[in-house]
Amino acid sequence: MADLIRSIAGHYNYWMFVILMMTGLFIVVSRGNLIKKIAGLNIFQTSVFLFYISMGKVTGGTAPVNTGRAGEVYSNPLPHVLILTAIVVGIATTAVGLALAVRIKESYGSIEEDVIEDMHRTERPA
């Protein structure tokens, strides 16, 4: 019983991040609006970041800035570095995605996937 409680207490935040990630995935898969899809992708991405950072947390640790005291416990700085890079790359891909959406709006007059698909169907009947 104590093991079970320990396991739940040690894993619940991973579960929460999985649920959060699936919220983002649901938006990406179920919605046809391109801007909304990109926002869903951002939710997905941020949950992965949160997952990584929570892996780096050490109980009783402090932020990884040298305090000069011997025997100080720090949280792991390596996931922080990787996620810093990932955040910046994430904004770059978001920008490209949004630019594509703007371009699609120019060419088709809509950013709704359903509308664009209908257009293709009426233009070229298979």
Binding site: L20, V29, Y74, L98
Partner: protein, 195 residues
Amino acid sequence: MIMTLIDLALILALLATAVMMIRLRNLFAMVMLAGVFSLLSASLFVALDAVDVAFTEAAVGGGISTVLMLGALALTARHEAPIRRNQLVPLGVTIATGAALLYGTADLPLFGDPAAPVHTHVAPYYLATAPKEIGIDNFVTAILASYRGFDTLGETMVVFTAGVAVLFLLRSARRSRGEVSGPRDDAPDARSGKV
């Protein structure tokens, strides 16, 4: 205990924000909620000791990303069209993926466990030698700029490539609308350097 409660409150707020983002059809409100989502996640990063990541997330995720989204909204649409597609298949896909991931978390080390593999590989070396070798007290900066400097160089390349891609996409959009004024790149005057 108090940290666990703060974590839980922030995570629940994140979940509520994400669910509202699914439901909202007004895209402006959705973008604002996306900004709130970033700010909440930045707070959670602080609670998880990742102060540098929190800075970056608040500035990039909450700031620049919101501005880009608003710019894109101004050029496209403000409202999402009513949903016509079947919602059950996406729901099924999402639940199946989520279940597989939840099953995968069972093997993960416990949250905050100092003996987890992630804490026993190179991180202790960085923590021990960075103040001596690099002379920067912030370990994240020391690793980012020095030990893993090539990663950061690659990141810069990615940002540059994305910038070039955005520039080309938006420029061709304006040209097809006929809004580009002045000499074009292939005009004789521009090539010979005369204005």
